[in-house]
């Protein structure tokens, strides 16, 4: 993600305090995390106090205040996935990656996350890597999926 894209997003919303969330979402989607320095620029351009930017950024789970790995691994811990064995799946993911939920490894390969229902409960438990859904996961299948990522 180059600086120019972030600047473009910020410029698009300049002077529009009520678009704070839109701006942060777009930056998060493009850059995968919100550097503090970028949030300062957002605050200045959108004319909102920096503290409010920080408050919003920390309130919502989607925003990441730390850099993420190249691959975002998401284990659904919604209720159906939970009933259908998400805990075992998560244990396997943690074992394979050596990470706990919320962590990123030193080589920035994986970030492991958990989260609420993703709306495809019928194929739970589910693993989502970089937005791609892998349904009906077993711990063994999950290992194979993770190993297929560089």
């Amino acid at each position: 993600m180059c600086e120019k894209d972030i600047d473009g997003i910020i410029e698009k919303y300049r002077g529009q305090p009520s678009s704070l969330i839109h701006a942060l979402v777009e930056i998060q989607h493009a850059n995968h995390w919100l550097p503090r320095e970028v949030m300062h620029r957002v605050a200045e351009a959108l004319e909102v106090p920096f503290a409010q930017v920080m408050q919003i950024a920390s309130f919502y789970k989607t925003f990441s205040l730390t850099p993420k790995g190249r691959h975002e691994v998401h284990v659904c811990t919604g209720m159906t996935c939970h009933l259908r064995g998400a805990a075992k799946l998560l244990a396997k993911v943690e074992e394979v990656t050596g990470l706990k939920a919320g962590e990123t490894d030193a080589e920035s390969k994986f970030t492991v996350e958990t989260g609420a229902c993703l709306g495809s409960c019928s194929i739970g438990p589910e693993l989502i890597v970089d937005g791609k859904h892998y349904g009906r996961m077993t711990p063994e299948k999950a290992e194979a999926v993770l190993n297929s990522y560089e």
């Binding site: 209720m79 229902c117 709306g119």
Partner: protein, 551 residues
């Protein structure tokens, strides 16, 4: 496409679309809903498109939203005849195309009863579908959500035409009131009275909003509707805006489904292009526009006042003021908020009338209800049945009972703000008030089956944990009360429960329920209340035994 200037122009255009379509020409509808997508339906669709391209004049391929029977995806439905193929793989594609061209059926891919082996070829014979009344979701296989013409072809926007050209705003409101349409987002509040409050509020500027947040765990029907048939919801919203006198609408939905976002954005753009949104809609003099907003992943932002704060660009904290959002909502203007499914019901009420609508359903709950059926059930998916349908029909006839040959222990409705009832209440009818009385309010309509192995203490702990993470944390009873309840439940599940824990929990449920600011906190103890009503011995035994193992 030039803007349609009048109702007559729209009807003429619709006639053109229909004239260009041959109902006898086979059409293969490949589901691209969330569950099928997760089973790589994209590869199946790609294979159909590649194989179908040279046969363009003989066969049509369409990618659609969720068909309903998510358990057996990737799903394919072939018309005419609504032939259902399940768990289709790219390798099956040539065979399906060949059979379709010959008017035959690929027997091995149709439904086979797991017990008797009996086959069901057509949708109306498949057990999952045949007990349903699919008024809302039924169009999904017929529509490519990226094409407004598909919606027009099934009669879309005819209700809007009727409202704008034959009815006054008051008449529209009256019809919705007479239909006794109750909100589908959880409360079951009469939509007509809420509309009226906003309509009668003195401010000139008014807003209407679609709540497509769908934060309830294991509820996925709103997303299925919004992704699969966005125009239906939009049509309902425009009609509502006309009745209420709103100039602007908001759609508030999830940020984490790229397909949903794409379809809704596209639907808004197409409606605008066709003149169904914007200035002077269909020459009626009524102007209305819609803005798309996204939640950023926290459950509490589905609450009405929190959602409105979020649209304003503020943190989604419920507003503590004692004034309804229908009178003072977004930027303190009267704002009418309804759930996706509530809006989706509006066009048919206007087209077919309140009398028709009230002929469906139970005495106090009219129409159909979308249910997300999941958990330990054989056939999970999006289900639509008339209100009043016995839960047994949902669980056994449609759902096929419990997975892996286990027995049913409990039925859970309404996610983290809902409740669980034991299996022996299975004959209760699906009804807003009835289910609330039993302690398992239907909420948005997420129904979970829990089998004999389910640990009810753990379920309550899980739900409480969810809420402590997904609340705003502003008010003390909710933030601190739930934290304490979670601690107690956690120690009980760990076999370290203490004497007096149940009393402590009951005290906390009571105080949190009365003193919390918004409904999240107020109902956070509801699952636990239902557990105490039906499964208390399990809790007592767990505490007495002082061991981590159930009983």
């Amino acid at each position: 496409m030039p803007r349609l200037q009048s109702a007559a122009e729209l009807e003429k255009y619709r006639a053109q679309i229909l004239a260009g379509r041959n109902p006898a020409k086979p059409c293969i509808a490949v589901c691209a809903g969330a569950a099928c997508d997760g089973m790589d339906s994209a590869a199946v669709a790609a294979a159909f498109v590649a194989a179908g391209a040279p046969l363009g004049d003989k066969i049509e391929v369409r990618t659609t939203g969720c068909h309903g029977y998510c358990e057996k995806g990737p799903n394919v439905v072939v018309t005419p005849g609504d032939i259902c193929y399940f768990e289709v793989q790219p390798a099956d594609v040539p065979e399906i195309i060949a059979a379709t061209l010959k008017g035959e059926v690929v027997e091995r891919l149709v439904y086979h009863d797991p017990n008797t082996g009996a086959k069901a070829v057509h949708m109306n014979e498949v057990p999952f579908y045949k007990h349903q009344t699919r008024l809302l979701i039924g169009d999904n296989p017929k529509i490519d959500p990226m094409r407004i013409d598909d919606y027009l072809a099934v009669g879309g926007y005819a209700a809007l035409v009727k409202a704008l050209s034959e009815m006054t705003p008051d008449q529209v409101l009256d019809e919705v009131k007479k239909a006794n349409l109750r909100g589908r987002g959880g409360g079951g509040f009469p939509a007509g009275s809420k509309w009226e409050t906003t309509k009668n509020a003195p401010e000139k500027i008014k807003y209407v909003i679609v709540n497509g947040h769908e934060g309830e765990s294991a509820a996925f029907m709103d997303r299925a509707m919004l992704t699969g048939n966005p125009h239906k919801i939009l049509e309902g919203l425009i009609i509502g805006a006309y009745a209420i006198g709103a100039q602007k609408g908001f759609m508030y939905t999830r940020h984490d489904m790229p397909l949903l976002e794409k379809h809704v954005r596209n639907a808004l753009a197409q409606a605008k292009e066709y003149g169904l949104l914007g200035e002077n809609i269909l020459g009626s003099g009524f102007s209305f526009d819609v803005e798309l907003h996204f939640d950023v992943g926290i459950f509490v932002s589905g609450e009405s006042s929190a959602l409105m704060r979020s649209i304003e660009g503020n943190p989604p904290e419920p507003r503590p003021k004692y004034i309804r959002t229908s009178v003072s909502g977004i930027w303190d203007k009267p704002s009418n908020l309804n759930n996706v499914e509530t809006w989706a019901n509006v066009p048919q009420i206007i087209s077919k009338g309140a009398e028709w609508f009230t002929s469906i359903g139970s005495e106090k709950s009219k129409g159909t209800k979308l249910i997300s059926l999941s958990g330990n059930v054989v056939n999970s998916g999006v289900v639509e049945v008339p209100m009043g349908t016995p839960l047994r029909t949902l669980v056994f006839d449609i759902g096929g009972g419990v997975r892996d040959g286990k027995t049913l222990k409990a039925i859970h409705f309404g996610g983290a703000m809902g409740g669980s009832i034991p299996a022996d209440l299975i004959d209760a009818p699906l009804d807003f008030d009835g289910m609330s009385k039993l302690g398992a309010p239907i909420g948005a309509g997420g129904l979970l089956l829990m089998d004999e192995d389910t640990d009810m203490v753990e379920v309550a702990r899980y739900l409480m944990d969810f809420l402590t993470k997904e609340s705003c944390g502003k008010c003390v009873p909710c933030r601190e009360g739930m934290k304490q309840m979670l601690q107690i439940l956690t120690r009980i599940t760990e076999g370290k429960g203490q004497q007096g824990d149940l009393e402590r929990l009951e005290d906390l449920i009571q105080v949190t329920g009365v003193a919390s600011l918004c409904a999240l906190g107020k109902t956070s103890g509801d699952p636990l209340k239902s557990m105490f009503r039906y499964f208390k011995p399990e809790y007592e035994a767990r505490i007495a035994a002082g061991s981590g193992e159930p009983k």
